[in-house]
Symmetry: C3
């Protein structure tokens, strides 16, 4: 079906003529618009060093846990995909991937890969054991060219701004270098391991944090050190602070309660309830800091991290076994919102991997609190059908203007244009349906589709 150009241009758009035509017209207005990427996991070093990509396996496979996890589920050991094995033969890795490629049919990963191969390398063949070597060779040849180095691709992709995700203690030298060179690559403050007493080496991390400011190991000193690191990020262009949490519970504690709790969790004597309470209070403190310093607060809750201990110990974190759990927002966030929800310049972007919250909590919350923005469909949900469900679930309550705009959230640099293009097509398809059945005028839809990739993310992320 993808063979004929006409149909290829219409991919992901509705197949009925009326709606498809409207969608194509809307898409045409934005398909080539610059990419705003206010939340990604691309490593700034990649762009700072501008080293050429080594091979197709490193570029497209090993670091992409979306891809390695499904192969693992199909019985392919992560070793065979090069995970934790920098010495793996990249051609062998690629062959394994291609020989299993049929399992990706219908997945977001499969779709993005096809888009990437076509869009970046001009490769339209389907991956298979038969085509593996040819495709490998074509990609490898391209990677040797100047035009396929990271910075050249950054420009070719028309990335207007890219925010990475960084450790609070990072020196941000890569970002400084990139900005000096005219690339708008912004750091994002991600302090999870400093806020969660159950994180590995929590006490050590906190002590390293405290050492940056020579403050005493008091709660006040700890907060002050966090505030100073946030300022450091802001001075390097940072616009947001990101929080990956298990649940959304927040708590407003008195300074004395907080001080004593801090002492207990830092010394490792806090029990489960105290640990949970500490996390809840730190989420509250992060909101307070965002109100004070203006960093947009983004929340990514509801993930059970490192579900498989054996995989964690053998291959490390972020290797595909983080799993969604039931998530709620309305009750857990109430203490935070009671204090900060109506603050004028506070922005709180709520993401979810539990799509039941779209219509039940996120749209109703963002339809009342001026501080709340609905995060774009995240992780397991940033695929064409899921984006359609997201729009259908939130729009009737919250409209188009209470969202964050699309977030690619990816470690896979090459997938950025494919992911944005997918979201643009899904949004065009959704809007076209509302135009076709008389809910939105074409003129309004034309404004909306443009705002979705420009003013909406810029407003939500204060860009």
């Amino acid at each position: 079906m993808r063979a004929t150009t006409g149909q290829f241009a219409r991919r992901l758009l509705p197949t009925d003529t009326l709606t498809g035509d409207i969608a194509a017209e809307l898409l045409a207005r934005i398909e080539d618009a610059p990419l705003i990427s206010p939340h990604s996991h691309v490593d700034a070093r990649l762009l700072a060093s501008n080293t050429q990509f080594r091979d197709p396996a490193e570029l497209l496979v090993t670091g992409d846990h979306y891809l390695t996890r499904l192969l693992h589920a199909c019985g392919v050991d992560l070793d065979r995909l090069g995970v934790g094995r920098p010495d793996a033969d990249p051609r062998q890795v690629w062959r394994v991937v291609c020989s299993y490629w049929h399992v990706f049919a219908g997945t977001a990963t499969g779709y993005w890969m096809a888009e990437e191969l076509a869009g970046v390398f001009g490769i339209r063949e389907e991956l298979s054991a038969r085509t593996a070597d040819d495709v490998y060779d074509i990609i490898q040849q391209h990677l040797g060219m100047e035009a396929f180095r990271p910075r050249a691709l950054f420009e070719r992709f028309k990335i207007d701004v890219l925010a990475t995700t960084d450790d609070p203690l990072d020196d941000l030298e890569d970002h400084a270098r990139l900005q000096a060179d005219g690339f708008r690559v912004l750091p994002t403050f991600r302090p999870d391991r400093l806020l969660d007493p159950e994180a590995p080496d929590f006490a050590e991390s906190v002590n390293r944090l405290l050492a940056t400011t020579s403050t005493a190991a008091t709660f006040g000193g700890y907060l002050s050190a966090l505030e100073q690191r946030r300022q450091y990020f802001i001075s390097h262009g940072g616009v947001s602070a990101d929080h990956g949490v298990f649940d959304t519970w927040t708590a407003d504690l008195s300074p004395m309660e907080a001080e004593s709790l801090f002492a207990r969790v830092l010394s490792g004597t806090g029990d489960t309830n105290e640990i949970r309470l500490f996390r809840a209070h730190m989420l509250f403190q992060m909101a307070r800091m965002s109100v004070d310093d203006g960093l947009v607060m983004t929340l990514h809750p509801g993930v059970y991290r490192n579900h498989s201990s054996a995989t964690l110990s053998r291959y490390g974190a972020n290797t595909g076994h983080d799993l969604p759990v039931t998530t709620t927002f309305v009750e857990g966030l109430r203490p935070l919102l009671e204090r900060f929800g109506l603050e004028r310049d506070f922005h709180l972007v709520l993401f979810t991997v539990d799509e039941t919250t779209f219509s039940r909590e996120l749209a109703p919350l963002a339809g009342f609190y001026p501080s709340i923005y609905i995060g774009a469909p995240w992780w397991f949900l940033d695929a064409p059908d899921a984006i359609g469900r997201f729009r259908a679930a939130v729009t009737e309550t919250a409209g188009f203007y209470r969202g964050s705009g699309f977030i690619d959230d990816t470690r896979a640099f090459l997938s950025i244009p494919a992911r944005h293009n997918t979201a643009r097509r899904a949004d065009a398809a959704f809007l076209a349906r509302l135009v076709a059945d008389g809910r939105v005028s074409m003129a309004a839809a034309e404004h909306i589709i443009e705002d979705l990739v420009d003013s909406i993310p810029k407003k939500a992320f204060k860009l």
Copy 2:
């Protein structure tokens, strides 16, 4: 797209020709059928006094929290919308609304407003800063005419029956007057504040209730007073009792347990668990009374009321910050259903703002218990796409005949026809798909579409 009449007539209907034609044919059978509104929040006084609407702001904006909440989220203070400020300049309020109108694109509120302006006032222009004054003037001119007073509109809207929602201590004189004048406007018994120890002024309210019957402040006296107020509602045409609750837990207590619990919560000494248990038992008692006196029991659970204390204290309740929470039915309602679920004449209509319950609990429950009816999509879910999801989620298990029929549930009198028309179109669209792909015969669909707006609500609400 709404410019050409042909397409306008097909709004909300499927755009593929086959299904669209079937939907249009089904819709034609009921588009002009009288409206049955067995659950609304219209104030009976409005119709009793028949005073003309003051201005477009009062008529269409200030009291409609669907509308004011989204503007609030977009940074518009509720003051500027006239909420809590009867002295606000209505033209200024209207201008603010119009200047933000683009944020309502794709929302139910935006769609209904367009329908109301077109259907009631013949206004087809899109609202905007540019059109604000013209539209204001046209509406204002109409409001001065006799034909735009509440009772004239009631007749023009072809409202067959309208149920309001009323305090148990209301004297229902407005209803008596309306019925004397030939308008079928029925009161609904809504005793929340008399059943929830955490409601403001609970003890005072209960004492006022007890004073109506001169009974002692015992649990028995309290039940008896509630029963007598229900009788008073019945004698004024009431057919249902409505219950807004946080969760659905019910409990069957012994008279002695209940008596002692009542004493504790009335004196304000009950703890959180006792308060919750009291509420659970009172829901059980409400079912018992419905079995005894025949009032249909409607349940609206799963809403966190008054989420923003600052907004509550400044603007009062029902100003847009009630928010849905996770809801379940199967476990919580079991004590109630064990006792009353198989009672012949008991009707329990279950509404939800958590759409996960449609396929998981509501359809399975209503597909077994003769007493249970599935409430129409409620509040954040009574919009075109959400209605489609509702029908898809419940029909395969429970069919079309175990539902309540559409409920407009609105405070916005003018929106009643738009809301019913939207639901009728959504139902026609859903049914047309089942006809087009061979699941339901056209003859069957013709019966169903008629029953959905007539015999089905009449049966569920004993009208």
Copy 3:
């Protein structure tokens, strides 16, 4: 609409021409493929004895709780449907069903019945009070023919393999006889009542189990007896063990803890927490046994069994009042998965009646753990629209190859082909959309549609 042959052939397929044509082409490849039924509730005795079906009521009504429950909800006493009344006049039962037939419009049951009547008996008329007697007579005439005995239908339906669900203490003589006669009818080990201390007659059942092996009433003896019964099932062709549980919590206990817990629950002195812990540990033990003996482990959680005590005591279990509850997997299964999730030959098929888990938990789990397979939509969810939602929810994360393939899960023997055909059509419709909008190539879709009814269920169930 079902009148014209052309449209009838296209039932359940998309109505837009492009997508409909693709779907029809895909369907044509598998519509007549043999049926693989690795999980059903058909009674092996039916096929072993090959007695002719008695009458339309016995064949199509009384034992089918999908059907009797909705009639019950509509006010028809189960007595009138012959439930618990073998002496009921079958023609009267049939007349009652037909006179209420309109309530099944849009339901899965209604659709299957139409398919069965057309496919097995050539009856295309809609059921109604008017047609009841004619249809009854036609069916009754057919039932007298040799070609309508169970074994003949088994062959006509092209059932390749059928797994029943059986008590661990069953002698499996019916299965032995069927296999001797060349019918591939396999037993499934379903030990619920031996694992749940709250099951009726738990202690008695366990003692009967222990008696089969003359082992002592120790936990070790109990495990050993279960293992031996599993071996007995394996020796009779069994490939899977099925577990109906309230929730998915699992626990890894030390032998000493388990022994003491066993003693307490067997003696009836265990409290609620101990009972829950015992069940959690036994689910863990079942996984351990599956790892040891290779039986595929299938899990059916999240059902509140026997919700109506009055109905249970009057009509028995499985009479329509089992109801879904909120279900989760990621946290509850973790102890089990920590120990067995990466075991090479372990297969754990997870079913759900809470569709929120499809995208949130099942697809992510099966997209990482090689042992986990996503069970086909189950029970209230095995209908055309629900199957579409299932595919849309899981495919973008887990693709097509991490599922179980379709499972009919039915007690209604005659409905097997209708159910498989429905699923095949729903899958063709889903795949066609991905082809039409450019996500999957036609060539890939052709492989997938064939694998879905052949290699995929064979792999998941080790057939």
